[in-house]
């Protein structure tokens, strides 16, 4: 009889201890989740807004966003050149990376023999682990000379006289320009994008593919009419998440962009992006307005990234809804 009481007591003890642990974990993890997920981004935004107040007051929002002059001496600032550079290099790198990444994902999930899949998968993922400065140095020392002496003159030769498109290839080929930057950026985001898209492809229920094969569909038809439509919003989400990386990439772009705050007139013109301008000018910004304008540009990057990630999240939500059905 006594034994039973003892056992009951110890069970109770274990229970309370478990409850305590559970509550403790709930509280502390909840705190960190709240802090990292909600408080920190809000705080960062508030600080950016606070530090940028001088520039916001002086230049306004629309004017700052649409003005192309960036003159630290006259303390006259506009962010359009940087925003434009950021958006254009991101879009271009996406245009180059997306087909390649989707191709890699299709190869890994559908085409490659089973023993080969993990090898390619791992190799692609390893690419994602290379620090961006390595891409920058490689781009600067190896790729830009090739672009400047071989690829870009060739492009000018072949496409320079074509109406409309030819305009994109005007100017002296220096190798430090929109084209080279976008190319290196695309190489940097391909592994990331390919992994996300591959995961989405793997989510396609085998039964759907098998049904399609059973109906006599070819491999290509299955990929085009089953796999890709089924995962469309997953692919889109993955693309936009990688765009987030391209948007904020600094180190590699610093080496390759030519760092000129101007609207590039062609793909062979130098330009700059928001994060590059920040990295270049922050340390030596010696007047209050100058520093504040840099914070303001940072705020714009924050807003652009936030919007992009918001869209990505929305896409993923839609995908999840489809899985449930």
């Amino acid at each position: 009889m006594e034994n039973v009481a003892e056992v009951q007591k110890s069970i109770k003890e274990i229970k309370t201890r478990g409850e305590f642990l559970e509550r403790f974990l709930k509280f502390s993890f909840g705190f960190w989740a709240l802090f990292a997920g909600l408080l920190f981004p809000i705080l960062a935004g508030v600080i950016l807004l606070y530090e940028a107040r001088l520039a916001i007051e002086k230049f306004g929002f629309i004017h700052f966003l649409t003005y192309t002059n960036w003159d630290p001496v006259a303390e006259d600032f506009g962010a359009l050149t940087m925003v434009f550079g950021t958006v254009v290099s991101t879009i271009l790198s996406m245009l180059i990376a997306a087909p390649v990444a989707i191709g890699i994902a299709i190869f890994i999930t559908e085409l490659a023999p089973n023993w080969f899949k993990p090898i390619v998968s791992t190799a692609v993922e390893l690419l994602a682990a290379i620090p961006s400065i390595i891409y920058g140095l490689w781009g600067f020392f190896i790729l830009t000379p090739i672009m400047a002496t071989k690829v870009e003159p060739w492009l000018q030769d072949k496409l320079g006289d074509v109406p409309l498109i030819g305009k994109l290839f005007q100017g002296a080929p220096t190798g430090v320009d929109v084209l080279t930057t976008s190319l290196v950026l695309s190489i940097m985001i391909i592994p990331f994008m390919a992994s996300v898209v591959r995961d989405a492809f793997n989510m396609v229920p085998p039964i759907m593919k098998e049904s399609a094969y059973g109906l006599g569909a070819t491999k290509w038809e299955v990929i085009r009419q089953v796999v890709i439509p089924y995962t469309a919003s997953g692919i889109a989400g993955g693309l936009i998440l990688s765009a987030g990386r391209a948007l904020g990439e600094t180190m590699a772009v610093t080496f390759l962009a030519g760092n000129n705050p101007q609207i590039p007139k062609s793909l062979l013109d130098s330009f700059t992006t928001i994060s590059v301008a920040l990295a270049n000018q922050f340390t030596e910004a010696d007047t209050d307005v100058y520093l504040s304008a840099l914070y303001y540009v940072g705020l714009l990057l924050y807003l652009v990234s936030f919007t992009m990630l918001g869209i990505a999240k929305f896409m993923v939500l839609r995908l999840e809804k489809r899985w449930k059905v």
Binding site: N69, P72, T144, N259, E284, D286
Partner: protein
């Protein structure tokens, strides 16, 4: 007992040794760390210098987060007064104009203010431009476009270069002005001295400006620049000290003096100095810094020269010591 003694010794040692913090100019970082190392060996005092850039150095000095700040461009006397600071020069530096002109070998080119200004304004676009050719009658300059290179990051090197151009070229002053970064009319931007050098080396027909020390260490060609008296002067320790010697250093103006375009037959025109900023209203902290700089002025010249920095001329050092005394921060 032994333990207690040891503990006391360690503890008192920690109290006696000064801990001096500084921040700013990246240009002086190598010599600052060398001085800090040697100074620590002699005195046991620690100097912690962070090369965060001149802009950061000025801000931290104003906010009093460091004992001294270092900047490549001097603050105006009004700014110094307004922020209750003290300012004095510590070492001299200079920019050289380096180039990569195919077919001229190791020939040293002559440049004058008009040539450099027009190249950086985008008006002279080819190396065989008659104006450049007339400056260099003995060289056959090629028919090649000039690739103009400048710094992309904010920098004291840019400050000195653009300050010189603003002084000698009215058009530059009016359209561009000077600062740690400016709105460049033409050219591509390289990050750091190494970025500029690489662009210049790689492009046939490149021209750029880099720090003297960097050019010297890397054996880059450096143009002779025409100075105020009309002589073409090569950048060297002697010609830069000449510029510093002839400058009108004024204690009452907190040494506000830019060494670009100074008089003197042999003065190199694109010369500058790095300045130290101290807190006038915190004399105890300022004195900590001046003990270090007094040692550096008296014993540090040889280390500076080893690293290709140019020490301040003796007459200027004397002025600085008097300046400290006047403001009650002499060590």
């Amino acid at each position: 007992m032994k333990k207690v003694l040891l503990a006391t010794a360690v503890f008192s040692g920690a109290v006696l040794a000064l801990e001096i913090t500084g921040a700013g100019s990246t240009f002086v970082y190598p010599i600052m760390s060398k001085w800090a190392y040697e100074y620590n060996k002699v005195t046991g005092n620690k100097v912690n210098y962070q090369s965060i850039g001149s802009g950061g150095g000025i801000r931290q000095a104003i906010n009093r987060t460091v004992d001294f700040g270092a900047t490549d461009g001097p603050l105006t006397p009004e700014e110094v007064e307004k922020n209750k600071l003290l300012q004095f020069p510590v070492v001299i530096g200079a920019d050289v104009i380096t180039y990569n002109v195919p077919g001229i070998g190791k020939t040293v080119l002559n440049m004058d203010q008009k040539a450099v200004c027009d190249i950086y304004m985008g008006k002279i676009r080819k190396w065989n431009d008659p104006y450049l050719q007339q400056l260099n009658p003995n060289v056959k300059l090629p028919d090649r476009p000039i690739v103009v290179v400048h710094r992309s990051d904010g920098s004291g090197t840019t400050w000195i270069f653009t300050n010189w151009l603003s002084k000698v070229c009215p058009e530059w002053k009016e359209k561009v002005g000077y600062g740690t970064s400016v709105k460049w009319p033409v050219g591509v931007g390289g990050k750091g001295n190494e970025g500029v050098t690489n662009y210049v080396k790689r492009s046939q027909g490149g021209i750029g400006y880099v720090e003297y020390i960097y050019a010297k260490q890397n054996n880059l060609p450096a143009a002779r620049i025409k100075n105020r008296e009309g002589n073409f002067v090569e950048p060297s320790v002697r010609t830069m000290q000449e510029a510093a010697k002839n400058a009108k250093w004024d204690k009452s103006k907190h040494f506000y003096e830019v060494l670009t375009d100074q008089p003197g037959k042999d003065a190199y025109p694109i010369t500058g100095a790095t300045f130290i900023l101290l807190a006038k209203d915190q004399p105890e902290r300022a004195k900590k810094a001046t003990t270090f700089f007094k040692w550096a002025y008296e014993k540090g010249d040889k280390y500076a020269e080893e690293l290709n920095y140019i020490p301040m001329p003796a007459n200027v050092k004397k002025l600085i010591f008097e300046y400290w005394k006047e403001h009650g921060v002499a060590p």
